[in-house]
């Protein structure tokens, strides 16, 4: 699902398999997509000999409204919803950029080592 959402248009099973890093077999990807289509989570159009799959976004917009309403409900919203990042101040940007550079360096070093 994540691969489908990240793409900007409809994707064939081959493209989905590639986007997922080739971990799954083509037939597996095809089966998963077919099942998701049966559940009504994604829609498909014919593209050559295969189908191109696209996630059904409209439903999600309605849900986004629910989530927004939850978020706007005053300060203490974390009894139910906990986010990754909350309320950054402008001056924290410079610090974060420095730290991000450190993190990138650490990742590069780990990949080489």
């Amino acid at each position: 699902m994540v691969a489908l959402w990240a793409a900007d248009g409809a994707m064939t099973p081959a493209k989905v398999q590639a986007a997922m890093g080739g971990d799954l077999a083509y037939t597996t990807v095809m089966t998963i997509l077919a099942r998701l289509h049966e559940k009504g989570v994604i829609e498909r159009t014919k593209a050559g000999r295969a189908f191109a799959y696209r996630p059904i976004v409209a439903e999600a917009d309605v849900v986004a409204e629910h989530v927004r309403r939850l978020l706007d409900r005053g300060q203490d919203r974390t009894a139910v919803l906990q986010g990754l990042v909350d309320g950054l101040r402008p001056e924290e940007g410079a610090t974060l950029r420095t730290l991000l550079a450190r993190a990138d360096a650490a990742r590069a070093a780990a990949e080489q080592g």
Binding site: H66, V67, D86, L88
Partner: protein
């Protein structure tokens, strides 16, 4: 009853200070558990202590004196609590009851709101991961009492921002919040703060510890630098979004940069601080029990006079 009843209030202050100092020096999981349990114990002890101080005011009312079978005049003369203090305490008790009731109602309302959001997801995201079409980078854990209804909500903006490993780190972070029921920790701390406003500081420390706990789980699932870079990228991308930071996090200081820096270092381990916090809470509870026992004896003696 004379002195022990005042101990819980002193110890609330001690807990707040120890919590602030100790939470950065403990492993996040231990910090979170210790903070939430100690806050709950200290809050309960303080509430009982205030009730004990207020009891002479209540006991003096003719109806209560009749039920308790003690002479009204004797309460006034023999009470170890000065009448003015007892009256103030009575007002505080009423305040606490209103505050706790209001907070509990507020928490229940949030749970209900979460339920309607969750129902919207049940069709479009049966598997637990829900995407919303939003250019802002958002990643949330939507909690529910039933484990099967837990959802991780991620926006398309967030997905486009991160590379595959970083996306895995974000998912692991949110799943950690759900798996360990962190919103429950927050709910308990919020109620504790409703009893004693000073415990708001402890609640902030707890929220930080919970985020660090989830960060550590994300680092375990991927790697420390990957989790650090995911968090840093997400933080940088949200800089323009919230011009007015939540007061709670502002109290703690630079939460996101601290978290990223902590992920780039080794996790802390020092245990002794946890025991200092626990000891504080136990003494508060003990003082409270002792004072309750003394109070019982006091009213028993009154009854016999």
């Amino acid at each position: 009853m004379r002195t022990t009843v005042y101990l819980p209030f002193l110890l609330t202050g001690a807990l707040v200070v120890l919590g602030r100092l100790g939470s950065g020096r403990l492993s996040p999981r231990i910090a979170a558990w210790t903070l939430v349990c100690c806050a709950a114990v200290v809050a309960a002890s303080s509430a009982v202590a205030v009730a004990i101080l207020a009891s002479p005011t209540l006991a003096r009312l003719p109806m209560v004196a009749h039920i308790g079978r003690w002479p009204v005049a004797a309460v006034a003369t023999r009470s170890p609590v000065p009448p003015w203090l007892s009256l103030v305490a009575a007002v505080v008790v009423v305040g606490i009851v209103i505050s706790v009731a209001g907070t509990a109602w507020h928490l229940a309302a949030q749970l209900h709101a979460g339920r309607s959001a969750r129902r919207g997801f049940d069709r479009s995201a049966p598997s637990g991961l829900a995407m919303i079409d939003d250019p802002d980078p958002l990643a949330y854990a939507l909690w529910a009492p039933d484990r099967r209804h837990h959802r991780v909500i991620v926006s398309t903006g967030m997905v486009r921002l991160l590379d595959p490993q970083e996306r895995a780190a974000v998912l692991a972070h949110e799943r950690s919040h759900l798996r360990h029921n962190h919103p429950m920790f927050v709910a308990v701390a919020t109620l504790a703060r409703a009893v004693h406003p000073l415990l708001g500081s402890t609640a902030v420390d707890l929220r930080y510890a919970l985020e660090r706990w989830a960060d550590e789980d994300a680092a375990t699932a991927t790697s420390r630098p990957v989790a650090a870079s995911a968090l840093a990228k997400a933080g940088l991308a949200t800089l323009g979004q919230h011009p007015a930071p939540m007061i709670e996090m502002a109290l703690h200081g630079h939460a996101v940069p601290d978290r990223v820096a902590a992920l780039l270092d080794e996790p802390p381990h020092h245990r002794p601080w946890a025991w200092a916090l626990v000891a504080t809470a136990l003494v508060a509870a003990g003082a409270c029990l002792w004072a309750t026992h003394d109070t019982e004896l006091f009213y028993e003696a009154l009854r016999r006079s």
